[in-house]
Point group: C2
Chain length 132, copies 2
């Protein structure tokens, strides 16, 4: 499964951005920008899961989870299929799974490789305006 030489791979990121629409790209990537959604996607990466069970697995209220699932569904990252009275959710396809995995990979390494930036900086950036 090589990410080798696609048509798009020859272009610079900046060109690819306007091609795809920076706003759309940002919107899609924002799916990974919240702990709740990250947990949902990570849980679904282990396999399909009914909505209610999912909410429990990631420690959210049913309603909150449903709202986020709608978002992820609208972005095309997950799909829900009715099965009895439950609705079973899954990751949309492999690109979602890989996107998640590689994001984690790079973030892990970024967080470990800091030498300029003391750990505070990340914590500081993570906490918006609290804890001062």
């Amino acid at each position: 499964m090589g990410h080798g030489a696609d048509a798009a791979t020859t272009a610079t990121p900046r060109e690819r951005l306007d091609t795809a629409g920076a706003a759309d790209v940002a919107a899609t990537l924002q799916a990974l920008a919240t702990p709740s959604r990250l947990y949902i996607l990570a849980r679904l990466q282990e396999g399909p899961c009914a909505a209610g069970e999912l909410a429990g697995a990631v420690g959210m209220e049913q309603s909150a989870c449903s709202h986020q699932l709608r978002l992820l569904r609208n972005l095309g990252l997950v799909t829900g299929e009715r099965r009895g009275r439950s609705i079973v959710y899954s990751l949309y396809d492999n690109h979602v799974a890989e996107l998640l995995e590689q994001a984690l990979y790079h973030v892990e390494h970024l967080r470990l490789g800091l030498h300029d930036t003391p750990a505070e900086a990340v914590a500081e950036a993570a906490e918006p305006a609290a804890a001062r």
Copy 2:
């Protein structure tokens, strides 16, 4: 430079998430969740650039750009080095470049592969509450 078998690669995403701290991961990934920051990172991927020039290149006001640069700096994604009266920014390292590139790769393919989700859905998700 293979992403082969790291220590972390054996764990499931969910485990990796709590290990790294879901909030921190989310905070880092949110750097890619906005058009302005995406443009900044994409421009820097082409090579180092002074702050003022950068602002012009991505079509932002100097101040707005500086604010976002601070964010990216705090997250450890970019670094700034003084050179004369300018401050030249660069991507922190290869992980940032690859994160950007792979994010674009997957988003491009996700946006093309939609079959359940009509194009409206993405547009709808991109536009928060406007255009109704």
